[in-house]
Symmetry: C4
Subunit: 225 residues, 4 copies
Amino acid sequence: MNDERHPSAASAAGEVQTRVNNRIIGFSDGVFAITITLLVLTIDVPSNLASDEVNGFLWETLPQVVIYAASFVVIGTFWVRHHRMFDMCRAVDGRILILNLVFLGFVSLLPFPSDLLIFDDQSTSAVIAFSTVAGAATLCEVGLWRHLRRHRELLLPDIPEERIASLTTWRFWSLGVFIISILVSLFFPRIAVLMLLALLPLYELVHHRHYHRHDRTLYLLRDDQ
Amino acid sequence: MNDERHPSAASAAGEVQTRVNNRIIGFSDGVFAITITLLVLTIDVPSNLASDEVNGFLWETLPQVVIYAASFVVIGTFWVRHHRMFDMCRAVDGRILILNLVFLGFVSLLPFPSDLLIFDDQSTSAVIAFSTVAGAATLCEVGLWRHLRRHRELLLPDIPEERIASLTTWRFWSLGVFIISILVSLFFPRIAVLMLLALLPLYELVHHRHYHRHDRTLYLLRDDQ
Amino acid sequence: MNDERHPSAASAAGEVQTRVNNRIIGFSDGVFAITITLLVLTIDVPSNLASDEVNGFLWETLPQVVIYAASFVVIGTFWVRHHRMFDMCRAVDGRILILNLVFLGFVSLLPFPSDLLIFDDQSTSAVIAFSTVAGAATLCEVGLWRHLRRHRELLLPDIPEERIASLTTWRFWSLGVFIISILVSLFFPRIAVLMLLALLPLYELVHHRHYHRHDRTLYLLRDDQ
Amino acid sequence: MNDERHPSAASAAGEVQTRVNNRIIGFSDGVFAITITLLVLTIDVPSNLASDEVNGFLWETLPQVVIYAASFVVIGTFWVRHHRMFDMCRAVDGRILILNLVFLGFVSLLPFPSDLLIFDDQSTSAVIAFSTVAGAATLCEVGLWRHLRRHRELLLPDIPEERIASLTTWRFWSLGVFIISILVSLFFPRIAVLMLLALLPLYELVHHRHYHRHDRTLYLLRDDQ
């Protein structure tokens, strides 16, 4: 830390410069935090409610709160995955910066199709829109994993090769959750939202149980302990 | 810090991996900051106010500003508590990551029932909705404390066992503030909001005074001083 | 950093515990960033504008952009001041945590009176509302400075006593900017907004020039350089 | 890091004080993250859509999603540039703090003209408004680069002089993208938006390829690796 290694004096051709910089983490956390908090604005509140109308309004709005929960679960799952991915990284390069930005673009678009989801009178189109945006974000994740797998120098030295390979595969198959939701929404639109709510975290849980049955990760909050 | 201890080479079964990672703090602070700032959007401003209507409008809106203050106090109290909890932590594990996410889900939902609270013409339902969401967030806190108590390795070594136990109990009883508010709102809905405004910080103050009469905590802003 | 000093083993009565914790900075920056960005939402955009109406609308909205600039300048000034205050701090205690939270409460309320300010048809009430909220935030700052002056252990060791005293006085007198704006708004409401826009940064500039004529502060972005 | 060098005991006239402080990074990331996420609110969603109207509404809204993408690309490009600029910095001074604040003021104003951009029925005025605000932000960037070039002590020691000079020039010429968009919008308003979408990242890509053909920068996420 106190050495002259970084910033390394590298301007010769073909050399790799290293710098200490974790803005990508702070920026991503900011976008996730805002997106997840903006979801509450998808619940419309009329500005002039009389006190005796509030009760009825609350019952009517309950399905919207379910949608809020479903969207929260989806974006929360994306955050937990993002956390796990960058937790394995030692460094990022320019391409990851760009790919991550595109990924965040799809994540922060999610409140829009989420606003279209209506529980009582669910349309297939809204589920397709939500699943397409969430699927595009998942594809970016797959791209990030592929890039990480090809550039071992970005990963921490103790991450085994096969773990990255299996994670890339798992991420790819998690697209299936969205495809299944679209298929279900063609026949039972109402159930499709509940499936998104249940399937995505379930998928993650199964994956996590499968790989982390025996070990446990502690995230130290500070360096010096 | 410069040793090879973290990331420890742990992939054997049953071993505990440690990594330095405090994204949970930054992400939580982001969600708290946005939720507390979105509260101001619950004050509705008509887009076309003539200059002579502004005065009357301001007096009409004053109760809404009181609601803003009450919600700000509730969410601010949650932040101070969250700050104190993670201040005692040395590390977090996967379960805390998830529990904290659910906790933040309830916190960021708070602006919705807060928007329903109307001071002049207060309905019991709105107070119940607000107290239920705030109570659910409190339950998550109790869950977090219970998990911390059972996993001593997550806590800093100088935190005495009985302090965690008493904090868990205090958090649990703070649910009473919301239950009392609901009971009061059945008969005097207007007063219930003021109670939330006053009772929750009072409760925290009493607790804090009780335990920290004699000591004082300084939070160093930087490592090297 | 690698010693056993912090967290110091302090649970005896009257002892001072120290912990490394800079969440107050991250949380405050979050609230400032969101408040300053929410200001753009005070510019109302009709949802269905024909292409030939956009031009006229833009000219009509120009005064609102001036209001946006004025509010941005006020909140930006608060941030720069906050930056300078905590830059002198070595640590914070519980009272600063609470006072800072109240301060942030007033700062994040500012977009509401800012939304009431209308350049063309300015009402005195709106200027009074804005100045009152901004003045209350300034009072919190004065309170923070007073607390810092009385607790020298919170400040960095190289900050001279008289500098804190003079800063407290200057902050107190900056309340005058808001009082003058209110007085001016009684007679010339339109000019009062421009005064806020001009006076507050001017006041800071004069103060800064007065004290920092000869020295210059560099803020290092990383520890190790 | 453990020495007594910073905070250096500097209160004599003409001396340079140094402090470790990277709040400017966190605050800027916050403003960028919120601005980029608020863009999604520029897509208007009617509150009462029947399930059979959602499909038609989605097709109608598609152009708005293109606008969202264009604005996202512009703000994202600003973030990547900001990231690269401060990545070369060793420290910031008071003037950079202020210039950066003005820059962020223009960036966070961008969602307003972005809201005026309508793909189907594009007006020249909206493109001019968007390009003016984005151009003003670019001018601030040029100002920041000029200041950095004149104060070598703010830059990392391994940054060659000519690189800063060329970057200043490139930033200046990137104003041309906005000028070309305005010119095109006079005749083909619809195409102008697509040009913004395509030209700005293309310009950055060409610049990046030109200078970084042979080297590659790794951003280490943590200090100790």
